[in-house]
């Protein structure tokens, strides 16, 4: 199964894309948190402050049913 991953704010620039579809098994078979898996996929996110939203709910973990992850750094501009 694949899961849609969306990158917001400056994370889009750090990973070089705004969204992609990836295999969800790497989230399901690991003992790490979903956030740690994403950092393993994109080491440039290490040390960067961001939250994840799974199926439009913040701070959740990916499950077998999850369809979408959003990576959300804090926004500061005004």
């Amino acid at each position: 199964m694949s899961i849609e991953v969306k990158y917001f704010g400056m994370i889009e620039e750090l990973v070089g894309k705004s969204s992609e579809s990836i295999d969800n098994t790497q989230f399901l078979n690991a003992s790490s948190t979903s956030k740690d898996i994403l950092i393993q996929l994109y080491p440039q996110l290490k040390g960067i402050s961001f939250q994840i939203a799974v199926d439009k709910a913040l701070n959740k973990e990916v499950t077998n049913e999850s369809k979408e992850i959003a990576l959300l750094p804090p926004f500061a501009g005004g």
Binding site: I48, Q51, P73, F75, G77, G78
Partner: protein, 358 residues
């Protein structure tokens, strides 16, 4: 024709969601707007236009030429004047039925509680994390709701935090971002449309909250490139209030976009926590002992800032904090690392701690 408040707002009170009852609630309400820039200008304008009785404006800045393209309250002839005074003048010319209260200063830890406590709700129109955390923490302490808005290029966020039982800004971003990576204090570019859109949504939620209409309970995330507009469910309200233990006295409230001045004691804490990767003595070469820490004189920093290679979060020091502050405001323009300035002479204790660090 009558010039009273009711006739001024006649069209608005025809709206069933507002009505005369809503108009009365708006008149009785008070809102504090923190920041009178890109977000603040439309918020102040819309709240006054909506008939809020009392609008407070906090901003210590003066009008700059590069503000005019997006900060519609100001004109070219007002460059150099305090924003709060220009904003007040402009609003009162259009709307005689609002009371504008101005605070020509930045929100900081000493004035936050006093300013916020006399208002019903706060609108966060700031442009940096320090102020956002300070607004959040003061509002949690005082039990006041606040309407958060922030932008990044063509994207924006809006949320209503700290309503009874609702999430706070710390539920969204629990820890002050250590690595700022392009989101704080760096001009990442802005077109007027984006803060205007986000600000109007903030003002809308403020008005809805005051008149008692249902308000947004999620984090609204707007991508204006694709019109991907999402409502992200916020985490449950955290019951961890340890952040209030420091009594609004934390160095990160003091970070502004030019420098963060800290004491020896605060610096020692950061060194112990491994949060400082580099220390630079910015005194001139002839003033410096042979055993000092890295020495890059202020004169070299100001003549060629890009030649300074920073290894991460950096503490600058001199004798009193004057030159290090100047150096930090120069260096912070070109880095996403935290640049601290020691605002007093360095103690031997701190020096030894740094030299003996692991």
């Amino acid at each position: 024709m009558t010039n009273n408040r009711e006739s001024y707002f006649q069209r608005q009170s025809l709206l069933p969601e507002i009505g005369l009852d809503g108009l009365t609630k708006l008149e009785a309400a008070s809102v504090l707007v923190v920041g009178a820039g890109g977000l603040g200008s439309p918020v102040i304008e819309q709240l006054s236009s909506a008939g809020i009785g009392r609008v407070g404006i906090v901003d210590g800045d003066t009008v700059q030429y590069s503000n005019l393209h997006r900060q519609s309250l100001y004109t070219e002839s007002e460059i150099g004047e305090l924003k709060v005074l220009c904003a007040s003048r402009r609003i009162l010319a259009r709307n005689p039925h609002v009371r504008i209260e101005v605070y020509p200063q930045m929100l900081h830890q000493e004035n936050a509680i006093k300013m916020i406590e006399s208002y019903d709700i706060v609108v966060d129109c700031s442009d940096n994390y320090s102020t956002r955390y300070l607004i959040n923490d003061a509002c949690v302490k005082l039990n006041k709701p606040f309407v958060y808005g922030a932008i990044y290029r063509l994207q924006g966020q809006v949320a209503l935090f700290n309503i009874p039982g609702g999430a706070t800004y710390r539920c969204l971003t629990p820890e002050f971002p250590d690595s700022l990576a392009g989101t704080d204090c760096v001009n990442s570019g802005v077109i007027s449309l984006v803060p205007s859109i986000i600000a109007n949504l903030q003002a809308l939620e403020t008005v809805k909250w005051i008149v008692g209409l249902p308000v947004i309970e999620d984090l609204l995330l707007v991508d204006l490139r694709s019109f991907d507009i999402q409502k992200l469910k916020l985490p449950a309200r955290s019951t961890d209030y340890t952040f209030l233990d420091h009594g609004l006295n934390h160095p990160y409230y003091r970070r502004d976009c030019s420098t963060t001045a800290i004491s020896n004691q605060e610096a020692m804490k950061l060194v112990k926590e491994g949060k400082i990767q580099q220390m630079i003595d910015v005194r001139e070469r002839e003033e410096v002992d042979s055993d000092t820490i890295d020495n890059i004189p202020l004169s070299e920093i100001s003549s060629n800032p890009s030649s300074v290679k920073l290894e991460g979060n950096t503490l600058l020091f001199c004798i009193s904090g004057v030159r290090s502050k100047e150096a930090s405001s120069i260096l912070s323009r070109n880095t996403n690392a935290m640049i601290y300035s020691l605002d007093e002479a360095m103690t031997n204790e701190l020096k030894e701690l740094w030299k003996n660090r692991k």
